[in-house]
Symmetry: C2
Subunit: 437 residues, 2 copies
């Protein structure tokens, strides 16, 4: 946790150069600084006091007129960030229409996932919907079935803005039997965290008038998979949203443009994209995606069903296999934590495989059912590290180890793996996915 007093000092080639520049700069700037202090600090003197360009050269980009404004009316990332993209795991699925691409968590920071990098999971490809032709209907056990245009939805009173994580139930699913994939993009990248703008689903149910016998709703998507999921009425009336914007702009096509369902804290498959209808009923519908899929097969052959809530979980995003340690000395460990049951209250970090734990700094807003950022400032002496993080939420629930999970759930599961992740940092800084304990 020591202050950096010697920046640029490291083992890497670039850092070595920086260190050299710095030493040269120190002596040169010592003179420069003296001049600046003695002379009046007019604009001219300020120029004179600037560092000697022979020591810290004026960079090339200062000598050239840059590209003008609005080169891209809708801006794009720097060309130097071209590798920061959603990625697929080639062998994972048979077709790209029913597949997944993963959020590059290792390269991201803060609390928001940029829209262009939010992971994508399709079951029948991406529906391309003309917003003028879009309709949302509500029917079933209601007094008055209703159909809404997109304009109608935007005219509903009670519009809200809320940040929520969306995690696929299968996130980390490939890790049940041990370390498989070398990078948090692949082990944990089926998550994103977005500010949604939308209308509480309750407003639509109130408008239609829910009959007293109603206990469940069925949400259906307008894509080719006709995604359908049963949701208990109490959840639908509690905090679900009919959302039309994400991070300030219209929903992205791959996230359900123009309208998706938001089901805070519950598995991502229920957040029906391209939302077409909501049916009110008195029991769950037992659709394909809640029977053949999205159930948890236990060791004794029975399956857990309707396991909606995503429990507290966390992962260190840096260092991680795609973001190795590059320097000895001061470093910042960065990670994310989330819980479908509320707010993250604490994250502990271990650098020795779970023997010793240090409480990390939660930094930025810690909102209920939203991704929360944590940091641990630490010094690295070049020793091997076994990096782990352990999240605790406001209910007192503590993220379990993978061994604890397997004891209860066996090894048949795909979904709801919220076990503690371990990264092995080698002496040269390279980092890999391992399992301990």
């Amino acid at each position: 946790m020591s202050q950096i007093h010697e920046p640029g000092k490291g083992r890497g080639g670039e850092a070595g150069t920086a260190s050299l520049s710095r030493r040269r700069f120190l002596s040169a700037a010592g003179i420069g600084a003296g001049v600046a202090a003695a002379a009046p600090l007019s604009a001219v003197a300020a120029r004179a006091a600037a560092p000697d360009p022979n020591i810290v050269p004026v960079p090339d980009w200062t000598k050239t007129l840059g590209v003008g404004v609005n080169n891209n009316p809708y801006g794009v990332p720097s060309k130097f960030e071209k590798d920061v993209v959603r990625r697929e795991v080639e062998w994972l699925t048979a077709s790209r229409e029913s597949s997944v691409s993963f959020t590059p968590l290792y390269a991201l920071d803060g609390v928001i996932t940029p829209n262009g990098l939010c992971f994508v999971r399709h079951h029948g490809g991406e529906a391309e919907i003309d917003p003028d032709k879009y309709r949302f209907m509500i029917h079933g056990l209601v007094d008055k079935p209703l159909v809404f245009t997109l304009d109608d939805i935007k005219r509903m009173p009670g519009r809200v803005n809320r940040a929520y994580f969306l995690e696929c139930a299968a996130n980390s699913g490939m890790e049940w039997r041990g370390a498989q994939l070398n990078g948090c993009q692949f082990t944990h990248g089926m998550i994103h965290n977005v500010f949604y703008t939308g209308v509480p689903l309750r407003a639509f149910l109130d408008a239609a008038g829910v009959k007293t016998s109603a206990k469940w709703v069925l949400a259906e998507g307008a894509d080719a998979s006709v995604m359908t999921r049963s949701i208990p009425l109490h959840k639908a009336l509690d905090d679900c949203l009919v959302a039309f914007a994400m991070n300030g702009e219209a929903l992205r096509p791959e996230q359900g443009y123009p309208v998706r369902l938001v089901v805070p804290g519950w598995e991502g498959n229920m957040w029906v994209k391209w939302l077409r209808r909501l049916e009110v009923g008195d029991q769950p519908w037992a659709q394909r995606e809640e029977t053949a899929k999205y159930t948890d097969l236990l060791a004794d052959g029975r399956s857990r069903r309707y396991t909606f809530i995503m429990d507290a979980k966390s992962v260190v995003t840096s260092p991680s296999p795609q973001a190795p340690l590059k320097h000895k000395g001061p470093n910042v460990l960065s990670g994310i934590a989330w819980s479908g049951r509320g707010t993250i209250k604490r994250v502990d970090v271990s650098l020795d495989g779970g023997r010793n734990w240090t409480t990390a700094r939660i930094e930025g807003p810690a909102m209920p059912m939203a991704m929360t950022r944590f940091y641990l400032d630490f010094d690295w002496d070049g020793r091997e590290l076994l990096v782990q993080s352990r999240a605790m939420d406001e209910t007192g629930y503590v993220q379990p180890s993978k061994a604890e999970l397997r004891k209860v759930r066996g090894e048949n599961s795909i979904y709801h793996n919220n076990g503690i992740q371990t990264w092995l940092v080698h002496g040269n800084g390279e980092t890999e996915n391992v399992e301990v304990g």
Copy 2:
């Protein structure tokens, strides 16, 4: 504020169609709902209970397999949103290298500005900086001048995540002499609101050791304009950030990639992009952009200088000239408010040019020195409206009228126009920029 019980009822062509569909749907769904309630709600029955496709047809996009995942590894907006882009005002500047493009506020919602739509103001074009060659130096009245690589900055302890608005001092500047530009994109679009990840500037000053005679710092950019601004030391030590990420990903090139200064609540010009050096001194430097520009010329010929803070301000983004009213009956008025002196505490809205005011709903997080969203649910009977909003911040400051501003500041100013904006909504819903009072 009435509940929408009759969605789809409006004057527009599309809405008329929706209304027709709805009426047809009501009778058809009446039957369908009856069947669903009587029969067991198995998966099959659920299909049977779905609306008659002859009445609410299964849309074309459900019948076609969509595009697979990762068609765009870095995702882009829907083609139906192609007009939601940053725009320029052609006559405003002589060259695009020293110009501005405006945020399409009218089409946005929530509290975050997407990175691709954040307004851009360049003075010498966009510097294209190789992050491996990037250096940040701190010198002047310090014990120990220092040079940092980008890696060094990311290794500094104390990294934080904070959302702040950035408003150009010239935002709304063209409106000093009356209504000029027809759209909030152009009258108020030199603002964005972003979550930054970075390191407090104080950490760098502490590392270098600020001499006791120091009172100001000079921040300089590495672009061709060599943008330089003087900042009081107390602000530099308080809440300024050396930021390397925005909304979760690396800074965008046009926002200063790889590193910009964040100066919360203060005019955007001071948030030096492509941050190259910070010089510590004992008085301001009187650089071009704080003498010839970014001063406020008063009626008597004197100029206000170093007017850093952006006072409380607000604007209704919908309805507005680019987002006219399309329907009678229930509507949602949406707007944004912000203050450089802290948190927005209240926003009042008038629909009659300031005679009567209603307190709007502040929705989503209201963070200090960050853009805050407000809504007013209202019924429109087709009468002409004069829409205004008036922000109040935690200091008790109330956003002034343009007349009040002119009384104090005259009409020579370009900068720091935080007067109340008025939109005239005509009976046909079309909306224009007007001035009242």
